[in-house]
Symmetry: C2
Subunit: 458 residues, 2 copies
């Protein structure tokens, strides 16, 4: 039988889709990289069905591109060699929640907001917040993190166990539900950040956290970027467990002021969130305020109530939307890098100087406690010259971050957008190790070809 017949036999006819719009959508992410449509989109509903699809693809030597919510940014889901997009959106069951063990097991297609709605009434929450309403499987695959990682960690620290389908179509559970283990190689973390190139993630067991009794927020503007970063370094050195500590540069503050009708001072600004008992959040905030005052803070603005707290974080989460509104019609060319925090102020300052010289506009936001920052370069998608200048700026930014003992991507991943930088960052021998692992686990190269390890497309 042909591939299509086999896929239909593995699922049902109505879960094997070839409509042009569906194909196009499944090859298009939220980044600026050229999309590439798959030949089929399929919708398995559980691990067993997904394994059947993988076995069909293996039989037909057909590429497999795992698809979560399509919110990735570096071309992760582009079907560069065609093949079958496995859409996990119908794998949307929350399979098990244990408040005693503070863990939850979900199918890979469950999204962050869906999980949040389930957890909230139980008095627990899942901490990793990349902004987008990504699927949990996708968040594992890209090694996602976000605004709360400074306190609660990234996906790497919050995934306990995975169920994956291997290139042979076998089903593997990577680990037990024990909180820790030294029993053999860490298959779980190998899949975190593997971007669908080593197998298909079908179920995820995650740590959850008790919902804090009190959450408060503050915004504080500084005369210079250095002051803001030095304040953060000192906050961390004092072990103040800030839940979020986000940097917005002057351009980004201007953008959110305009878009959300706020009146924040246009200067490098930290947005803070505190979690704990009321006494704890009050003490944390006072301690941070005292530290900020020694770093020339211009003002320490409290979110007086829950509505103001939400408004502040709504503005932070709307950073990208507000940035795009600075230049209607422009596309956001987003990129991220991450450096040791002691190098962060210098890296951002040089990047801003480079940006000014390039004539481009790009607000900067950062998960500053992690040393991670993002640029959303606003480009006219029809202006080839401008796009090239944006690419060149990104290239210099990444090289600068690597030069500062940092990484070409703190959380967006490699996809096919950052292939060219992986050897520069890790060296040829480390890349050879990664390639050896890829070949060992996916000898025919069926899983998400052209991603993470290349080859780079033309």
């Amino acid at each position: 039988m042909g591939l299509e017949e086999d896929l239909i036999a593995a699922l049902d006819a109505d879960r094997v889709v070839t409509g042009a719009d569906e194909l196009r959508r499944h090859g298009t992410d939220e980044g600026w990289h050229p999309p590439a449509a798959p030949d089929f989109v399929v919708y398995p509903r559980d691990t067993e069905e997904a394994a059947r699809v993988v076995r069909v693809c293996k039989r037909h030597a057909t590429p497999i591109v795992p698809f979560g919510a399509g919110t990735s940014l570096e071309g992760h889901i582009a079907a560069l060699a065609g093949g079958v997009s496995i859409d996990t959106s119908q794998m949307d069951q929350i399979l098990r929640l244990s408040v005693e063990d503070m863990d939850v097991t979900v199918q890979a297609g469950v999204t962050r907001r869906q999980l949040d709605a389930k957890l909230r009434p139980e008095g627990v929450f899942f901490s990793v917040d990349p902004g987008a309403d990504a699927s949990l499987g996708g968040m594992v695959a890209t090694g996602a993190s976000g605004t709360t990682s400074v306190r609660y960690g990234t996906m790497r620290e919050n995934v306990l166990s995975l169920t994956v389908v291997t290139a042979d179509g076998e089903i593997v559970k990577t680990r037990s539900r024990a909180r820790k283990s030294s029993a053999g190689y860490d298959l779980t973390r190998l899949f975190v950040g593997s971007e669908g190139t080593l197998g298909l993630i079908t179920e995820v067991t995650l740590r959850v956290q008790p919902t804090p009794e009190s959450m408060t927020a503050a915004a504080c503007a500084f005369p210079a970027l250095d002051d803001a970063v030095n304040c953060v370094i000192e906050v961390l050195a004092h072990a103040i467990p800030v839940a979020r500590i986000e940097l917005l540069d002057d351009v980004q503050i201007d953008a959110v002021n305009r878009h959300f009708e706020l009146a924040l001072e246009v200067a490098p600004t930290l947005l803070l969130e505190f979690h704990g008992t009321p006494a704890e959040t009050e003490a944390q905030a006072k301690d941070v305020e005292a530290i900020a005052r020694t770093h020339n803070v211009l003002g320490f603005d409290w979110a007086a109530d829950e509505a103001q707290r939400r408004a502040l974080w709504h503005a932070r989460h709307g950073a990208y939307e507000s940035a795009r509104a600075l230049r209607p019609g422009a596309q956001g060319f987003t990129t991220d890098a991450c450096v040791p925090i002691s190098n962060l102020a210098a890296c951002i300052a040089e990047t801003k100087a480079d940006l000014d010289a390039s004539g481009l506009t790009a607000p900067i936001v950062g998960h500053v406690g992690d040393g991670n920052f993002h640029l959303a370069i606003l480009v006219d998608p029809d202006d080839a010259d401008e796009l090239q200048r944006a690419k060149d700026l990104n290239d210099r930014l990444v090289r600068r971050a690597i030069g500062y003992d940092g990484t070409c991507t703190g959380e967006h991943g490699v996809g096919y957008g950052k292939l060219a930088f992986l050897e520069l960052e890790h060296g040829p021998q480390a890349l050879a190790m990664m390639r050896a692992i890829k070949v060992a686990l996916d000898p025919e190269g069926l899983f998400n070809p052209g991603k993470v390890l290349g080859p780079a497309p033309d």
Copy 2:
């Protein structure tokens, strides 16, 4: 040239050792498994020298057994196939400390206490405390954890980057010093818990933590094990950031009372430590005490001062020593397992009943916040029947833990002592993935043969 000549050419004659005592010592760990001496012990002083040694071993197709401090428990360092023990104790330099970035880079042979002495004056500390004065390289290799993991995490959460020598004798840095990254496969975590089977760890970059302003301790005894475990579950559900929360069973309490001349109530007991500002530690302790009272606590004893705090934790760290003193001349047959905390009380209760039926004596201590517990079974090493009963008890314990969705080892590792349980825990497909990775990175099987993935020795 022969192997010995080549090793001497790679180092110096006085750093290639063949004395019988040295060989025996390097094949003998602190566990109960039969030792096996290597043919040579070598002492490289840096990564480059270590790489030279690995290249010599490769040329001679000679097994390589990495050696840290020799404190492992499951036969990790036994040279089952002979070969060269690479002792890292002369790789004892602390290479770089950044208090701003809260990280430190050390050579693999630096020990935990040596690091602590360096960090203390800087106002920071390294959190992972397995008890023994292990080397940091060894702690990475076994995926160590210990009493503080409930708050600060295991080695997995605290290793930022490694330098390793591959089976080809190449030098690879697994990652930049950025706090997080999504740039390619997680080679760092692949080496955490790899027990020297994938390559030789020569340098380690670790997260450090600010030293808490205040540290306080308490001990509380409960009428039953269930009460103690349920208290811990509720403490964690309230997000009280206890730094340590250790369980000692009645047998262990009796042992420490005798050995350290204490007068603790002989009952299942939690030892607690609190880190923070004075106000925080006081609030945490009060909250825990209130929770403990709802779980029938027999008494909540404060360590009134620093001397009492140290005495309590000295007793906890001397648990094994005090256990052995219960039966002079006996050897401790130590084992560990880890289960989801909701299954912990049942798993320990069944283990105690099994223990009673077996006629053996074994105090139980546990990192109860992680669901991890240890047995030190006291056996007469010359009594083959007793040793066999201990092995059978261990076998049933591990199967019980796996049946409770747990792991055959929470922190001691596999070595060659727990080989037989790995397939039971992970299933044949997961083991096949681990074997494929091993073959990909060490195709000739030179690194620590017979460990983690077997084959099991006769």
